[in-house]
């Protein structure tokens, strides 16, 4: 009667228990490809940048390394958005705020590292504070000169904001388009606040002119390479963490909440808690992405809080294909590569191109680039390797 059970669900006690992450990756072909590509990138980029001489056609310029690093921080940000949008149905149009907060925390550390090398040479106060005639460091700048503390703030500040915001929003059962609107309001309010000089974050200039990080000069190519590799590593780690989460029972509850929220509630799940914690986790990932972005780009200012930025992130995810995690990465890299290209070649054309791309993908590829690959990939493979089918049938 039951022909196939055991195949999907291994009987308990059969063999040693495998780790959940391993099991999750077994069924995640796209994820394995994604991790393999990341590994290749981590090996090839240093090779082409450092080992291949500058004159060669294969040489990767320092500029390209920084650009790639930037794309990958955006990829991490997009993955954070996909985690809550694709798996829990929470459409946040304010994730740029968490990204910027992580970036500002890193920026504060980098500003404190400048020390006496600033224009005004003040050993404690960053230039903009001297310029504003401030006599002492505001309380929230204390400790930011220490790397571990600053990195803790990269996680704590976005996480805490998400916790408070999410607690209030989810407890009041704000969802759907209303939640999207108040997340826009959140990032807009933060942008206005950070534009003010007396907030103590450098006003509209933000932070820039960083000198070094952990004693390594920002001017050296090696520092950028290390930051790039750290980004690749953290992106891979974040992917594994998200995949673990999704494969756990909590992950199944999160998807259940997306599909039938009241059903989950009547089964005894505190839907608000699940939404809140995945929202906080996603915000922390976005904050880490921001902290990786700032030292590679060398500047952070309040325009990072701009509402349009947060909307763009959602477009990356939609174009890449939501609900897959790696689709968000594909979308972020593709769209930002296109953006780099178009804003150089046809600056006035970019926004039309982005809008057009979004419309086209929504109409013709509702599951994004990755979804289309899932759809067309198997039939293509079958055509290329006709023997696969017969082997599959015999097994």
């Amino acid at each position: 009667m039951s022909a196939t059970p055991g195949v999907v669900i291994a009987p308990a006690g059969a063999g040693r228990p495998r780790s959940r992450l391993w099991q999750a990756l077994q069924g995640d072909r796209g994820g394995r490809i994604f991790l393999a590509v990341l590994l290749a990138v981590a090996l090839l980029v240093p090779l082409l940048n450092l080992a291949v001489p500058a004159g060669s056609a294969l040489h990767l310029s320092d500029y390209s390394v920084t650009l790639l690093g930037k794309y990958l921080t955006y990829a991490l940000l997009a993955m954070a958005v996909d985690l809550i949008w694709g798996y829990c149905g929470i459409l946040s149009l304010g994730h740029g705020a968490f990204f910027a907060l992580g970036g500002y925390a890193m920026g504060m550390y980098l500003m404190r590292q400048i020390g006496t090398r600033g224009v005004y040479g003040n050993p404690v106060l960053p230039d903009f504070m001297v310029f504003l005639n401030w006599k002492q460091l505001p309380w929230f700048w204390h400790g930011m000169d220490r790397f571990p503390f600053a990195m803790a703030m990269v996680i704590v500040v976005p996480g805490l904001l998400a916790l408070v915001f999410g607690f209030l929003a989810f407890r009041s059962r704000v969802s759907g388009v209303y939640l999207s609107i108040i997340t826009q309001a959140l990032t807009y309010a933060l942008m206005l606040a950070f534009f003010r000089n007396n907030m103590g974050f450098g006003g509209n200039n933000g932070f820039t002119d960083f000198k070094d990080m952990l004693g390594f000069s920002q001017q050296r190519a090696g520092t950028h390479m290390a930051l790039f590799l750290a980004t690749v590593l953290i992106l891979a780690g974040a992917y594994l963490a998200c995949r673990y989460l999704i494969a756990s029972r909590a992950g199944r509850v999160i998807q259940a909440v997306r599909d039938a929220e009241s059903r989950a509630r009547f089964l005894g799940y505190r839907v608000e808690s699940y939404k809140l914690w995945i929202f906080v986790f996603s915000a922390v990932l976005a904050g880490i992405a921001g902290a990786l972005y700032v030292p590679q780009i060398g500047i952070i200012n309040p325009s990072e809080f701009s509402p349009i930025n947060s909307i763009e992130i959602v477009i990356w995810v939609a174009i890449g294909g939501r609900g897959t995690l790696y689709g968000a990465v594909v979308g972020a890299v593709l769209v930002n590569y296109a953006k780099t290209y178009f804003t150089a070649a046809l600056p006035s054309f970019w926004l039309y191109a982005l809008g057009g791309l979004f419309v086209l993908v929504t109409l013709f590829l509702p599951r994004g680039v990755v979804g289309a690959m899932h759809h067309f990939g198997p039939s293509l493979r079958a055509r290329l390797r006709p023997r696969t089918r017969s082997r599959g049938a015999g097994a």
Binding site: V8, A12, S248, R270
Partner: protein, 282 residues
């Protein structure tokens, strides 16, 4: 087959796990069941619910005894679904009280707390998690710790797996276990939702139109299943299909305009002139 499966099923005690400290936002709600020592599991007294001046429930008073299978009938708009919403915490009444056993005040609890306290609900429209497999649907419904942290590392024990297998057998979906719940036929979704109720293992089951869209054979099996459950669990069944009600009912309550119009055995109720006038006589 159902009987033996249910016997094994209900012989198992509810897993009691000590609550963890400091779980303000993630804590598991009430793990203790109702105190039904007086023989009554549900007390609804003077419940009134108004929506924009319309009284969906009007001073409704209803008691359900332990182990009883109570059928609720009534024309559309009689307040049947609103009553279930009040019991499960979805709707707060304007007046009245609702107690689960002697000690649990339902009006102070949230939906998940009520579910954890031991009240399960099957919706009128079958509501299953369509993107999940049948097996996963049952796993998610399983009684136990439902906190986020537990869910991050929870694994099915051999006992739990066995229990899911039993329920799969009862609802006859063993061969569909690895398929998505979304592709099931309507009647199978109804059964899956009943299976989810069994996994949840509540003391009181609220079952809204369980046989809508079922074949006569499926209806018969559902009747068999519900009558088996009566005695072990308390049930409130809302149904329009009078033949089905006749096949399972011991006590029938007729609701009309948010009030109890009549109550008693099926024949008694069907011959009541008031009932004939508002409902059956149409």
């Amino acid at each position: 087959m159902i009987r033996t499966a249910l016997d094994r099923f209900s012989g198992r005690s509810r897993s009691a796990k000590p609550p963890r400290v400091g779980e303000l936002l993630v804590g598991n709600p009430l793990e203790t069941g109702p105190d039904a020592s007086r023989g009554v599991i549900l007390y609804l007294e003077g419940i009134t619910v108004s929506f924009d001046g319309f009284r969906a429930l009007d001073d409704l008073t209803l008691y359900v005894e332990v182990g009883e299978l109570r059928c609720i009938i009534g024309p559309n708009g009689a307040g049947k679904t609103t009553m279930m919403d009040v019991i499960t915490g979805k709707t707060r009444p304007d007046a009245g009280s609702a107690w689960f056993g002697q000690t649990i005040d339902l009006l102070n609890l949230t939906e998940p707390e009520i579910a954890q306290a031991g009240i399960g609900r099957k919706f009128q429209k079958p509501t299953v998690f369509e993107q999940h497999t049948v097996f996963e649907n049952l796993e998610l419904a399983m009684a136990g710790n439902k906190s986020v942290w537990h869910g991050l590392h929870a694994r099915l024990t051999a006992l739990e797996r066995e229990r899911i297998e039993e329920v799969l057998e009862i609802i006859q979906l063993t061969d569909k276990r690895s398929g998505r719940a979304g592709v099931l036929a309507h009647g199978q979704k109804q059964w899956l939702e009943i299976g989810m109720l069994l996994m949840q293992d509540p003391q009181l089951l609220l079952v809204d139109e369980p046989v809508a869209g079922m074949t006569p054979q499926e209806t018969e099996r559902t009747a068999e299943l519900l009558t088996m459950l009566a005695g072990r669990r308390s049930l409130i069944v809302v149904e329009h299909d009078m033949d089905f009600v006749r096949s399972i009912a011991r006590t029938v309550t007729v609701l009309h305009e948010g009030r109890v119009l009549a109550q008693g055995g099926i024949d008694e109720v069907q011959n009541d002139p008031k009932v004939i006038e508002v409902y059956l006589g149409v």
